[in-house]
Amino acid sequence: MKSIKNHLSLIIALLSILFSMQIFIIVDRSIDSYKEKLANNYSVVVVSQKRISDKNMIGINKIILSVKELTPDSVIKRLNTDMDSRNIELLKLTLPKFYKLNLKYYPSPKEIKKLTKDLLAKKSIIKVEDFSLNHDATYKLLLLFKGVVSVFAISIFIVTTLLIFKELKIWQYKHNERMSIMGLFGAPIWLRSAVLFRLSIVDAFIASVLVFGLFTYIASSKFILEQFSNIGISVVLFDSIDDFALLLAVAMILSVLLASLIVLGHKEEV
């Protein structure tokens, strides 16, 4: 019972840190996925007097992913009243060229402005439609969402830091006496701190395994998956290899750091 109590205090602190961290990872992935979705749906339309090759167009700005030439058929169809096919072909030749540009990622308003400027710098390009009003509103919403997530992350960081320091004080109190007694009988520093490091490594492992179990369950929960599907976001909630490795590494580093701080802060009783 006594031994379980010793372990629980650090395991609970580590659990809350790892849980918050994984939640933040999921939120971050969701934002990235949403950005990707926005980028796929967003494009810039360019009007040029002359035909521009895909290679030349992509070379104008590095944000451009692909170029698609828009056929003027739909416009001509609307005008198509009594014109014969010869005149239509002539009209097609005189009409400017329309291009739809897909971008590598969802750009910021500043990047949109630069792209427009770069495109208009090309002599043949006479018009660029960047749908900036729509874009700006969506981008601001995204920024707000990111801001809220950042505040959430900072709050977690502050709370967990306080938790760690609280834990540090408890550990210092708990282990100082034993370390001093061992020191009185000539135990070298590694032997005095061995119990502490063993405890922290075991606790880090237990906490990581518990979080692994919890998120494996969450990632396979139909209800959670349905919620994500409803908002049209498809993300990996928990990668059992990469995420577990990251959680284990963070837990190990934190607990070993905690143990090291105690060892360094240990003062022999006089």
């Binding site: 006594k2 010793n6 006496e177 034993r178 007694i181 061992m182 020191g183 009185l184 009988f185 000539g186 135990a187 070298p188 520093i189 032997l191 022999e268 009783e269 006089v270």
Partner: protein
């Protein structure tokens, strides 16, 4: 006869406080039994602390077991402490360990084999009449029993020197007598040097001993 402790002009003080022991000179032969007496606050425990290296001399030279303690390195101090057994008035047992493990501590630190450690602990538990309590934790024992555990721990690794700081201060007669018998036995049979800080020298001692008295910061031998 070899000297286990040689003190030359040592002055002892805690940081930012006045000098407690002032330019004292004394030496202790190997295998002797020594009592250190003095009024409360005279510096008896401070002197003992300096002998096990918890308080470095402010001035002078203090050599214990061949190790100069003024400016001693942590490694050398650990080496010296592995050959000393200490008994405190407040026992200083590790609360989260069983009494068996507490007694084992110096043996583990000194790298004894598991079999030897186990035998030694069993023998000592018999000597201190606590064999039936081996698996208990210190807080489950009485003060006298805890001090007997501390005594067994101090003896476990056959040290060259035993330091005892008022070892019977809070104990009942039975435990006190047991502690004195163990200290006498270690000195007589194992030729271990024993230094005891106490207010009163017990009348029942069947042993030749040296007596140092501390007064006004100086140490003098009482004949």
């Amino acid at each position: 006869m070899d000297k286990v402790i040689i003190a030359k002009d040592i002055s002892l003080a805690y940081s930012n406080s006045e000098t407690i022991i002032n330019q004292a000179n004394f030496s202790i032969n190997s295998g002797s039994f020594v009592f250190i007496t003095g009024a409360s606050g005279s510096g008896k425990s401070t002197l003992l602390k300096s002998i096990y290296g918890a308080l470095k001399p402010k001035q002078g030279s203090l050599i214990v077991g061949g190790v100069e303690l003024k400016g001693v390195s942590g490694k050398k101090l650990n080496f010296l402490r592995r050959h000393i057994g200490i008994v405190f008035q407040d026992y200083k047992l590790v609360k989260e360990w069983t009494i068996e493990k507490n007694i084992m501590l110096p043996l583990i630190i000194n790298g004894y084999e598991k079999g030897v450690t186990q035998n030694q602990v069993e023998t000592l538990l018999k000597h201190v009449r606590l064999k039936h309590q081996a698996g208990k934790y210190p807080q489950e024992l009485s003060g006298g029993e805890q001090q007997r555990v501390a005594m067994a721990r101090a003896l476990s690794h056959n040290p060259i020197l035993i330091l005892a700081d008022e070892p019977t201060g809070n104990l009942d007669d039975y435990s006190s007598q047991l502690i004195w018998n163990l200290l006498e036995g270690a000195n007589k049979q194992l030729k271990t040097t024993v230094i005891v800080v106490t207010h009163h020298i017990p009348q029942s001692m069947n042993i030749d001993y040296k007596h140092f008295h501390i007064e006004y910061g100086s140490i003098h031998e009482v004949n």
